[in-house]
């Protein structure tokens, strides 16, 4: 796995070869609001697979257009993530991309992203934009290509096998000195969207930026997330999935469990470690894949809990 040649093509070949090998992974089982980690290959995983009614996979922060250390080939690592999802024994019902598809919102970056996502055996992909996808046009190009077109603001919801999913937009109309923002109009819509549901309905809410104050000094949070959470508190099982920070962070707050996903492109430092939230550049050759990943979520019928599987690129 270690390859210290200066030859970049050789490194890349070795890197891709590494990714083609079976690798380590972690299964997150949510039980009673507490998350438990188990390695892949463990017998418990098979058991949890057996009683799952469906699954979906989360991909995040592919940053197509980024071409610096530690990852000169973000297309290759996204492609590897998609291949990893394709290799799952049980095909996920759909994919979720939680934003920062591109690095600079360029049309050619969106083209490349769309092309790689078409390699997925899973037909349906739900997207929400990251702040990198709305540069210069407030997301017009993003929504034209990847929007669900339910509402002018871009937010949407859908039901899937008894679970209510909500996609929120928190990267637009940001205020100077602030964090991510949902805005009054979206909050009013969310309140109305949830009004008709019974408290037993499992909820999955997803958006790009963390919907909890994870680390505000680095902008890792959403100004009006507390208001949104006040609408979710009445439900028995709520999972909030975010991207943005390129690493796994979790938090349990009553019935609400928050997760952030890894990036398929490059890792960022832990909150407050180092001068800022830029890419971690000094990663040992062959080790990058350990920081990248996809997330596979299985709905376990009956317990109304979600088993969240975090898998690093092999």
């Amino acid at each position: 796995m270690q390859d210290n040649h200066d030859n970049e093509a050789g490194n890349r070949r070795q890197f891709l070869k590494c990714m083609a090998w079976a690798g380590a992974g972690t299964l997150w089982l949510m039980k009673g609001g507490v998350l438990r980690a188990q390695p892949f290959g463990d017998g418990a995983l098979t058991a949890s697979l057996a009683d799952a009614s469906f699954s979906f996979a989360q991909i995040s922060d592919s940053h197509i257009g980024f071409h610096k250390e530690p990852n000169m080939d973000v297309v290759g690592t996204l492609r590897a993530s998609v291949a990893r999802v394709n290799a799952q024994a049980a095909r996920p019902d759909f994919l979720l991309h939680t934003g920062d598809l591109t690095h600079l919102s360029k049309p050619e970056e969106f083209d490349t992203l769309a092309g790689v996502m078409q390699e997925s055996h899973v037909r349906k992909v739900f997207y929400v934009p990251g702040e990198h996808d709305v540069i210069g046009d407030n997301g017009a190009e993003f929504f034209r290509r990847f929007g669900e077109r339910q509402h002018a603001g871009g937010w949407y919801s859908f039901d899937h096998r008894g679970v209510h999913f909500v996609g929120l937009i928190n990267v637009l109309n940001l205020k100077a000195g602030g964090l991510g923002s949902l805005g009054a109009e979206q909050l009013a819509w969310l309140k109305k969207d949830l009004a008709g549901l019974s408290a037993e309905t499992p909820l999955v809410v997803f958006a790009h930026m963390p919907l909890w104050p994870l680390y505000p000094p680095w902008g890792w949070g959403t100004d009006d997330s507390a208001e949104a959470m006040s609408y979710l508190r009445w439900f028995g099982s709520v999972s909030v999935l975010n991207g943005h920070i390129h690493q796994i962070q979790q938090k349990v707050e009553g019935n609400i469990t928050f997760y952030t996903a890894r990036s398929t492109a490059y890792p960022q430092p832990a909150p407050g470690v180092g001068p800022g939230p830029g890419p971690m550049k000094e990663i040992a050759p062959g080790a990058l894949h350990r920081y990248l990943g996809i997330r596979d979520v299985r709905h376990v019928r009956g317990r109304q809990a979600l088993a969240v599987t975090e898998e690093v690129l092999p």
Binding site: E131, G178, G219, P275
Partner: protein
Amino acid sequence: MKAMAQGFTRPRAPFWRPGVLLVMGALCCVGVASHPAMAASASALKAMQTQQIGIRNFAFAPATLSVPAGTRVVWTNQDEEPHVVTSAGSLFASSKGLDTGDSYAVTFSKPGTYAYYCSIHPMMVGTIIVR
């Protein structure tokens, strides 16, 4: 200058004679004493009229800049991450997405206080005070 050109074009000319060198030296001295002096004042004026703001580690440096009216302010992104210079209240035009090494310049002609931020990382804020 004409003498120097002749010196170079005539192979047999006693170009390296101390006397010629002296003349050249004198010419050079005249040059240093006159034109660069003008250039120096021009560049000093230009430096006064242009101020640089670095964007690094998700912050504007300096965060607050006080300049005389007419100053051209140049932001340069030194982060791996793109940034967008955006005026709070749209008092000046926003930049495009600035990738690593990209710059954006605005000339501030009217006195006032111009707050700005990065539209994709809004915790990044800065102020230009134009006197």
